[in-house]
Amino acid sequence: MRALRDIVIVAAVMAIATRFLGWWAVPIVAALAALWDRSASAGATKLAVAAAVAWGVLLLLQAVFGSSVTALARDVATSLGVPAPVPIVLTIVLPAILAASAAGVVAGVRRWRSPAAN
């Protein structure tokens, strides 16, 4: 339950930060969350999920209040010469990688500075 709560909270922060600051808010929020939460590798996974959820929800909101996301995804994919689902999949995967790698760096630095930890 605690993990789910953490994911929801971080996802909400990431979504709001993305909305107002842009994509680069994701690795920053992830890094800050990793500093806050010392649970190492499990933290990276949680943050990756939270980031994917954050962007997924933002995308869903666009679809609910705007026109068809899938139609636009198809057009963008055609323009980029990639299969139709790729833009949507990338939109979910990209923040996850950003968050996980940022958290991984924070965790790695912490371990490196404190060899006794863990």
Binding site: L59, Q62, G66, L72, S79, P87, L98, A102, G108
Partner: protein
């Protein structure tokens, strides 16, 4: 364990760095993924901004009173303002709201700054624009506009409106293209509209015919080149009625290929020329317009149809709008994003539309310079004059120089080197660029004649065949623009000696000499880019046959002659009429010529002839024969004009279709001989049979038997509407259309075509219909981005709503109130 920790850190750091780089900078042609995919601010924000809000209020600096904008069910904004300048501020705002990226990219392209937006791929295009002196001329025009004149104030008002919209929107509302390019919209300058007009002038008047003729001379000599690149069309049915009820054909013999012209000019221009296509079916702009007097219409009111054929883009070049200023202005029609005013349209008294005149308004001069590498002076009448040097710098968004171009000018215009020659160019578009005054003032006209007179006063270029009809039942046409008088009443197909000032232009045509007609006895007027005046009556050189096309004119005149009770729906039908005079004339010759081989005709020839003979010569979507005919004509072009080929197999120039058809009536002319066969001498019949067999075999190899869907006209020659950045997903490719080259709807097979079809009936209450391919919105995620394409493809028109007061437009789709704001 420590090693594993270090490994984890290293992997995470590399992954983070790579993802950050890909997200922020992009990799190769892939744009920055973070900027692109950010669901709030990236491409997906286009989904959230797809539709305009049902109700909105915005501030626009400079407004004297509030302006109300009601969008109808077709997404057309109806602007109700209390002053003209307020109306143009509002127009700037609503155009930016729907077409911001188009405004930006068109202007950057026109001002030689496209590289700033799309990078190095546009360098050549930018350099061409600059080398033609277009940005310099626009700036000079801007500086020359009187500070308190309507021309300048309209541009400033429009600019206020565009910038008010830019200031009002968050980054997330920027058009999707900026995400793809990782760029930001530029602020709008009043000068930008003048850049746009320069671009229009270039598209419509930069047609240097002399190069083709010189290049041909280098291959076949002067006599033959003059014969196949004539000044006058060989088929005549001019815009200014000549009293005849049928076209006439020039049947004089075409001079056979002769000894090459070895002069430096001819050789230089031939070396620079290459054409590989069949010119007749190559992408070309064109246009139709016609008007019918009340006595030839069923309802007894004047009718007008307009249909400019331009490059088909998404979003469309046109944006539909209605502007009302009570007691001053009530005009409906289409504007080009960036142009403050309605260009083609109607008010409650007059309707108007344009076709391109194709006049020759460019001349070149061979200059004598002091230094063949980098001239600083040129010689005129025995004295040296200084070459003006302009250094233009293209900068990126951070102000860094990304390109520097040095431009040279003589008193005539831009000076450039071609081969070993230094040529200066004189071009009317550079001397007297267009501004907005013409269409702003003419929109208030109450008669057809007043409309044309107003345009004649303010419209120097691009020369247009302007047609107008009014509620009083008058119809009128005039080829409006500035036309130069050459020395000794000469033509514009000679590169003159620049060292003699006597070779400069001697003035302009007087208005009375312009091609024109008012209420002709025939009861209708039509133009479709044909030669404006019957050469037997022309007093002066206007242009060469290279700039004209005759087939559509013949067809519309045929239709109008045959119908003495024209209805608006018949006018609509004419616009996509699939019949072709060109096909009628050719088919007769083609069947006759290929019938000569009757002893033992090859199977392909028999089948091809049989297929063509069954064709009704109509370019309907479903027919299977038009593609055979067009392919055979393309082959004929290549086989016939082989004398104009160089060693690479490309032609240095290609004569027009009316010349080719004239040769069909001269079956033993030496042009028919195929040089590749050595001593064997082919005549017309041999070449046409060969062209037809080749066409049939090629098509069967490619599409299978003629009964297959591959042969269907709509499948094999669809219209294409490319997105402004050529992004396939945002384009509409493969749109089936009825019509082909030489028909009234020549949209098939190219990225050019019918860009705004309009029919207006000038009765007590004006009624109008129109459509363009695309939609009002420039946002690819919007339902209004391509909502009109299906109807356009089917030749249908929308009924246009023309409320004179806001209250008449009930239940608007969107509502916008613009309030006076501070700058």
């Amino acid at each position: 364990m420590p090693a594993r920790r270090n490994q984890l850190l290293t992997i995470s750091a590399i992954a983070l760095a790579a993802t950050l780089y890909a997200s922020g900078r992009g990799v190769g042609p892939v744009p920055p993924l973070g900027t692109l995919l950010d669901p709030s601010n990236g491409v997906w924000s286009a989904v959230g901004n797809a539709e305009l809000p049902a109700r909105a209020t915005a501030s626009v600096p400079g407004l004297s009173r509030d302006v109300e904008v009601r969008y109808d069910d077709r997404g057309v904004p109806h602007i109700f303002a209390q002053s003209e300048l307020d109306a143009y501020r509002a127009l700037g705002y609503v155009v930016a709201r729907d077409r911001l990226f188009q405004l930006d990219i068109q202007t950057r392209a026109a001002s030689g700054r496209l590289s700033e937006l799309v990078g190095g791929v546009a360098r050549a295009l930018d350099r061409e624009v600059r080398s033609l002196g277009m940005p310099r001329a626009a700036l000079a025009k801007w500086r020359a506009l009187p500070a308190d004149g309507m021309g300048r104030r309209v541009l400033e008002a429009y600019s206020d409106g565009v910038n008010a919209y830019l200031d009002a929107i968050p980054k997330s509302a920027w058009p999707i293209e900026y995400r793809v390019l990782n760029a930001r919209p530029a602020r709008w300058e009043p000068l930008n509209s003048l850049h746009l007009f320069m671009r229009m002038s270039k598209i419509l008047t930069y047609l240097p015919s002399e190069f083709e003729r010189y290049a041909a001379q280098a291959k076949v000599g002067r006599d033959a080149a003059t014969s196949v690149f004539p000044i006058h069309s060989r088929v005549q049915e001019p815009i200014q009625p000549n009293g005849s009820t049928a076209p006439w054909f020039d049947t004089t013999a075409i001079a056979a290929p002769g000894a090459p012209d070895t002069s430096m000019i001819a050789r230089t221009l031939a070396a620079a020329a290459r054409q590989f296509d069949d010119r007749e079916t190559a992408p070309r702009f064109a246009s139709n317009n016609w008007a019918v007097a009340p006595r030839r219409t069923r309802n007894g009111y004047a009718l007008l149809a307009g249909d400019p054929h331009l490059e088909l883009n998404l979003p469309s070049i046109w944006y539909e709008a209605h502007i009302v200023v009570p007691g001053v202005l009530d005009v409906y029609g289409v504007t080009i994003p960036g142009a403050p005013g309605i260009i083609l349209g109607f008010n409650h008294d007059v309707a108007w539309s344009f076709t391109n005149t194709g006049a020759d308004v460019i001349d070149f001069y061979q200059e004598t310079v002091d230094d063949s590498l980098l001239p600083t002076q040129y010689r005129v009448d025995g004295s040296w004059k200084s070459v003006v040097r302009d250094v233009e710098v293209v900068r990126d968004e951070r102000g860094n120089a990304i390109a520097v171009d040095t431009m040279l000018y003589t008193h005539r215009g831009p000076l450039a080197k071609r081969g070993n020659l230094w040529l200066s160019m004189r071009w009317i578009a550079l001397e007297n660029p267009l501004d907005a005054t013409g269409f702003v003032q003419a929109a208030k006209a109450t008669t057809a004649r007043a409309y044309l007179d107003s345009m004649a006063r303010y419209w120097p270029t691009p020369a247009q065949n302007m047609i107008a009809a009014d509620r009083g039942g008058s119809i009128a046409i005039r080829s409006t623009g500035r036309y130069p008088i050459r020395p000794n009443r000469g033509d514009g197909l000679t590169i003159r000696d620049g060292s003699n000032s006597q070779n400069d232009w001697q003035g302009d045509w007087p208005l009375v000499q312009y091609p024109q007609a008012v209420d002709p006895p025939q009861g209708y007027l039509a133009s479709a880019n044909q030669e404006p005046i019957d050469p037997r009556r022309a007093a002066e050189y206007l242009g060469s046959a290279d700039g004209y096309e005759v087939w559509r004119a013949l067809q519309i005149n045929r239709l109008l002659r045959a119908d003495s009770a024209v209805t608006p729906d018949a006018m609509r039908g004419f616009q996509t009429d699939p019949a072709s005079v060109r096909a009628d004339l050719w088919m007769q010759a083609l069947l006759e010529a290929t019938a000569a081989d009757t002893v033992n005709p090859p199977k392909s020839l028999r089948e091809a002839r049989s297929l063509l003979a069954s064709w009704d010569r109509r370019y309907t979507k479903e027919n299977h024969q038009a593609i055979l005919f067009e392919t055979a004509l393309g082959n004929t072009t290549r086989l016939l004009w082989d004398e104009l080929e160089d060693s690479t197999g490309g032609r240095v120039a290609t004569p027009s279709g009316d010349v080719t058809l004239a040769l069909v009536r001269q079956p033993n002319n030496a042009w028919w001989d195929d040089r590749a066969t050595g001593d064997l001498h082919e005549d017309r019949d041999a070449i046409l049979s060969h062209a037809l067999v080749m066409a049939y075999d090629t098509l069967v190899a490619r599409f299978g038997p003629p009964s297959g869907d591959g042969w269907r006209w709509e499948n094999v020659r669809p219209a294409r509407m490319n997105h402004l950045l050529q992004l396939r997903g945002f384009s509409a490719l493969g749109v089936g259309v009825q019509g082909g080259f030489g028909t009234l709807n020549p949209s098939a097979g190219t990225g050019y075509g019918s860009s705004w079809r309009m029919v207006v009936e000038l009765g007590p209450n004006v009624r109008a219909w129109g459509i363009y391919p695309g939609g009002q919105s420039g946002n690819p995620a919007s339902a209004r981005y391509r909502d009109r394409i299906a109807k356009w493809s089917n030749g249908e028109l929308d009924s246009l709503r023309v409320p004179s007061v806001a209250a008449d437009l009930t239940s608007p789709r969107f509502f916008l109130r613009l309030r006076a704001g501070t700058s």
